[in-house]
Structures are given as structure tokens and as C-alpha cells.
């Protein structure tokens, strides 16, 4: 009798498990306009006190108050894992409704995204700054919607420069090397070189630009061009000379920025987002650091890298109208400016730029934005990018040319 009871219980349990296993799919769409939107955003914060979860939750709450039928569920993901996790969601066909962070041109190619015009009112769409329109465009239609932007400059520690007896910030690669070695003699890191997973594609491109190279030239992949090989050779030698931190292939941007903020690094490529880190570090006063155009092989770059993080709207759950309502709400100036003030990044809307153009912190970065160089607009870019992130650090231990050739092969092979 007892045994039979046990069997019945286990049968019921198994049945329950199977049923719940199947029952968890299906989105929150309703017929009467109620819906739950899933928003996945990268986390720009450096800790729990300034996490982007809070920024987006504030918008979501305010939006829900005005639109009680639509609930926005916010999930923020640390930058190091953002690409992996979004990719995994898509591969499993478990689509978010909105993402904000890296943009994947191949999602547009695979017809997973709504065109920008379908999920934004005309006025919101026209307010997006035009420099980055091409980056989010596939086959003549714009899918990626810029949300926040940045332009890159080189930051240097004036205090360390004075201690090392260096009068002026470097202009050329040779200057960088000489100055870095002088700072190293003080027991600090000369040049912070983040070739780790977080944003190696940016650091790599900044160096390539310094030698007239880049990932693409007129839409053709040129990763293993002779200039780029020369550039990577220089970088590998720079690392071997001890002018950088050891093992740059395993070092991430944010970690090195924090080290710069604590006064242990002489020079590092950065953007506005480095400023709050310096301020919260409390070690460097405003007079202890400055930012200058990034040195190139023979002189400073006249065009820097402009990066924009995009919003993408996925069509997998059919929430077009709700997404449109939310994006029009989230792109208001107040939220653009709040975001930029929080993270010292730049706005992505014309009215946002206007609101900040007189601010002394933002002005120099804003000025560099219009003629900046961007990442390739190519569906295979996301694959190439993740390979750069994992492999570019090996230029030190392997032959730089072979690393670049492998990347070029991936880029031209397509997916």
C-alpha cells in the first residue's frame, strides 16, 4: 500500500516536471494591448550605486505610469558578457524586445529586427544624429538606433609625466615608447593597453588608424594589410619592451581605467566614461590629468574612433506598437542627458547634443564626433569582433601577421 502511494507520488511529480518544462515558453503578449516588453541593456556602471539597471528601471517605471497596459522588464548585463548572452538568447530564439548596447548587423540581415522607422515616431527618428546612421543600416534600411556615443582620446597622468621629466604629451609612437619607458622607470605602468575581451576591437583600431590602416577600406576587408601588420609588430615590441602592463591580452579596459584613476598608469586611451572613474577614485585631481588626441606613427590622429551603442528592436514577439511607444518615451532629452551625465558619454540625438554643447566636459568630445571613424558596417562584423576580442592579445606570443591573417580569413569567408 505504502509502495503504491510512493509510485503515484513519483508519477505525479514527473508529470508536473514535464508539464512545467513545456509550459514556460510563450511571451507576455495579450490581445487587448497589454504586453510585457523585455529590455536587455548593457551595464555602463562601475558598481551597484550607478548600475544602468537603475537608469532603465526609472524609465520603465515612469513609462508604466503613463501606459499602465505595458510593463517593461529590465535586465542589464555586464559589458564583458553582453555579446555572449544576447547572442545566446538569439541562437535559442528566445528574443528580447529591445536591446541597448552592441549592435549586430547580422541580426538585420537575418530579418530579426524592426526597421527603425517602424518603431519610432518620425520626430524621434529624425532627431537621431546622422553620423551613425550608416552603421545601423543594412540594404538601405536603418535598423540600429544610436542611443549613446563616445569619441576616443588619450588620457595621461601629468603628475607622473612631471616626475619622469617629460615636458609634453607624446605625439608619435616613438614618443609613446620613450615616455612609457621613462614612467616605467618610476615603478609604474607606462602605457595601459587593454587587449582583453572587453573592448579589444576599439584599442586595436585606434592603433591601426595611427598608421593609416583600419579594418576596412572602402568596404573591403584589409585586416592583414601591410600597415596593420607593421602596427601590430610595433605593439608587440612595445609590450616586450616593458612599456605596457604585462600580458595585455588578458587585461580589460575597465580594470586598467581604474588603475589609471589610482595613479598607477602613465597613459591610456579613453573616452568620457573614464572621467567619473577618475573622480570616484579620489587619487587624481583635475589638474593631474589631461586628454589629448591619440598619437599616431608620425603624428596625432586627425580622425578618432567614434563608437555608438545602439538600440535594436526585435520582431520575434510582435510587440511593434508597444516598442514604439516605449522608444519615443525613452529618447526624450531628459533621459538622454541623464544618461550622459551619469556615465560621461555623449548623446545620440540632435537635441541632446544641443543641450550639452556648452558643457566644458562634453564639448571637446562632441567636437570630434562628426568626423569620426566607425566600425565596419558588415554582417560578418560580429563574428570578426569576437575573434578580435579573443585573439588580438596573442600578437605578443605569436607572429602578429598570422593573427591578422586568421582574422582576415574569418572576415572574407563570411558566416
Amino acid at each position: 500500500m505504502k509502495r503504491r502511494l510512493l509510485g503515484a507520488v513519483s508519477l505525479a511529480l514527473t508529470a508536473a516536471l514535464t508539464i512545467t518544462g513545456c509550459g514556460s515558453s510563450g511571451g507576455g503578449g495579450g490581445t487587448n494591448g497589454t504586453a510585457t516588453l523585455k529590455l536587455v541593456a548593457a551595464d555602463y556602471g562601475t558598481g551597484p550605486e550607478n548600475t544602468s539597471q537603475k537608469y532603465w528601471q526609472d524609465i520603465a517605471d515612469a513609462f508604466h505610469k503613463q501606459n499602465p497596459k505595458i510593463t517593461v522588464k529590465v535586465q542589464t548585463i555586464n559589458w564583458n558578457d553582453f555579446d555572449d548572452q544576447v547572442k545566446t538568447m538569439v541562437q535559442n530564439h528566445n528574443y528580447p524586445d529591445i536591446t541597448e548596447g552592441d549592435y549586430f548587423p547580422d541580426f538585420a540581415q537575418a530579418k530579426l529586427l524592426y526597421p527603425a522607422k517602424d518603431v519610432m515616431s518620425d520626430s524621434t527618428f529624425k532627431n537621431l544624429i546622422p553620423v551613425f546612421a550608416n552603421l545601423g543600416t543594412y540594404n538601405g534600411t536603418q535598423y540600429g538606433m544610436p542611443f549613446t556615443t563616445s569619441s576616443r582620446t588619450m588620457f595621461y597622468n601629468k603628475k607622473l609625466f612631471t616626475q619622469a621629466g617629460i615636458a609634453n604629451p607624446p605625439q608619435t609612437w616613438d614618443d609613446v615608447k620613450t615616455d612609457a619607458l621613462k614612467i616605467k622607470a618610476l615603478g609604474k605602468v607606462g602605457f595601459g593597453l587593454p587587449l582583453g575581451k572587453e573592448e579589444a576591437q576599439a584599442e586595436t583600431l585606434l592603433w591601426m588608424l595611427g598608421n593609416g590602416g583600419g579594418y576596412q577600406d572602402n568596404g573591403k576587408w584589409t585586416i592583414d594589410s601591410s600597415q596593420n601588420v607593421e602596427t601590430m609588430q610595433f605593439l608587440a615590441d612595445l609590450v616586450k619592451s616593458g612599456a605596457t602592463e604585462p600580458n595585455p591580452g588578458t587585461k580589460n579596459r575597465t580594470d586598467l581605467w581604474k588603475q589609471f584613476a589610482s595613479g598607477d598608469i602613465g597613459m591610456i586611451n579613453g573616452q568620457g566614461a573614464l572621467i567619473p572613474i577618475i573622480k570616484s577614485g579620489g587619487k587624481l585631481s583635475d589638474a593631474d590629468w589631461a586628454s589629448v588626441p591619440i598619437p599616431g606613427k608620425t603624428g596625432p590622429l586627425d580622425k578618432t574612433l567614434g563608437v555608438c551603442d545602439n538600440v535594436s528592436a526585435f520582431n520575434g514577439n510582435g510587440h511593434q506598437a508597444q516598442i514604439k511607444a516605449f522608444l519615443d518615451f525613452a529618447y526624450q532629452d531628459t533621459y538622454q542627458v541623464a544618461f550622459d551625465k551619469e556615465y560621461d558619454l555623449l548623446p545620440a540625438t540632435n537635441s541632446g547634443v544641443q543641450a550639452l554643447s556648452s558643457d566644458p566636459v562634453f564639448a571637446p568630445f562632441l567636437k570630434a564626433l562628426p568626423n569620426s571613424v566607425q566600425y565596419p558596417n558588415d554582417p560578418v562584423w560580429s563574428t570578426v569582433k569576437s575573434q578580435i576580442q579573443s585573439s588580438i592579445g596573442t600578437i605578443v606570443s605569436k607572429d602578429p601577421k598570422s593573427v591578422l591573417s586568421a582574422l582576415q580569413q574569418t572576415a572574407t569567408k563570411g558566416s
Partner: protein, 301 residues
Amino acid sequence: MPARKGTAARVTRAAAPLLWLGPAIALVGVVVIWPVVVLFRTSLQHFTPNGFLIGSAGMDNFRALFDEPDLRGILLRTVAWVVVVVAVTMLLSLALAQLFNQRFPGRRVARWALIAPWAASVVMTSLVFRWALDSNSGVVNVFLHDLGLVKFGSNEADWLGRPFSAFVWMMIVAVFVSLPFSTYALLAGLQTIPPELHEAARVDGASPWRSYRSITLPLLRPAFLVAALINVINVFNSFPIIWEMTGGGPGHETSTTTVFMYQLKQAYIGESAAMSVINFLLVIIVVLVFLKATRWKDQVN
């Protein structure tokens, strides 16, 4: 028709256990067998990086996998990873189990403490070690710095930056998290050995070492083999330690096949499945060789 009635009754009787076994069989089928089938199928298909099936790939995924220049190093590293971690774990566990089998004050507390690395999430343990090894402020480096052995921020202090030292440290963490299980398995084995045997040996004048070799070890063999085998499988499949501490990088220089499989998945789903098939076959081969080499049947039965 009595004959038919008899058959029907026999069938019913024979089928009766199915009612009880059915749910378990169904569960095994759904969560074990089916994924393996899908895995093999995926390894022969061509998927876009976004998870859309665009046709059959034949053996292309396997060809691409074997053409990966880093694969050789990854396979060798995987072998080193499994052999070293399991061997060190089992040796230390033998000693620890012996220790915990003695009566000493505070034994209960000590036994509980041993469970800690087992109870803590592996990801958490790995993160703790990652920060402890930080080249500027990690506690390991602070300690070594105070002893005057390393300089902060130097190449020597950058334990996780150099592939070899990173791999050694990750092995240490893997041993650390594997110890509790093996020790408890061996401890259970030790407690099944009747104390009279050791008493008899002592009366016969055997030294403690002799009685350990001739009585404890042979009788511990079944427990030892089970623990070692489960460790081989666990360590081979171990993912979070390497992923949290180095991410397999730089490049693939600290990846094992399990981590490499995940790295491939970002862009090459089919090739990743091919790697997974190879992993699956490797585990089966390793286990079969292990069973054969240890004459499992004679020992455990």
C-alpha cells in the same frame, strides 16, 4: 479461449512494471538520450551564427574543427588537466580521509568544514581565487609582496596573465573543489573496513604502513575507483573555473575542449556541436579504458 486469456494475462503482468518504470524511462529519454541525438544531428548541420538552420553540412563541421590550428594544444591541455587534477585530488583525498577517520577533538567541526568548498558555488570559488591573484591588490600577491618575493603589477605577480601559471592555478582550484567529494567517498570506504582486520594485523606484528598497504588500500579499492571515475568525468567537463578565471584566454591558450566548445558556439554552432561530439566520445573512451584497466567488474562486484 483459455490460451489467449493466458497470454493477455502474461502480457499485462509483464507490462505492469512499465507503469512504475515508465516515468523514469521517459525522463531519461527526454533529458539524456534526446539531447545526445540532437547533438549528433546538429554536428552534421549548417547553422547561421544566429541559430537558423540552412541545410546539411555533411562532415564540414568536423573538417573545420580539425583544421583549427589551436586544437592540438587544446587537446593536450585537456589531457594534462584531467590527469593532474584527478591524480592530485585522489592522493590528497587518501590522506585527508585517513585523517578524518581518526578520533580527535573537533573532528565533527573539521568534517563540516571540509564540505565548504563543495557547498560553495564553483563560480564563487573561482571568482574569489581570481581576485586573490589580482596582480596589484590580490591577497596572494600582497602576501608575497610583504615577503619581498614579487613586485605589484610585475609579470611575476600577474599569475593569471601568463598561460602556464594561470593553468597551474586553475588546476589548484579544481583540486580544491574536488577534494570534499573524493574525501567523503573514501571516508565512507574506510568506515566499511572492519577494525578486527587491523587488530589482527597488529597482533601479527605488522607495521602501520604494512597494514595500510595490505589491508586498507585493497579494501578501499572499490570506493577509490568510484571516486576517481566520477572525478575524471567531472574534471573533464569542468567549465566554470576556467571560464571565470581566464575565459580560456589569451586566445585559446588556457582552454580545455569544454571551454573551446563554448568559445566556438558564439559564431560556429555546427562546429561547436562537432567539438561536443568529440568530447562525448572522449569521455566514453576514457571511461571504458578506465574500467578495463582497473578490472572494474572484479573489484566493484
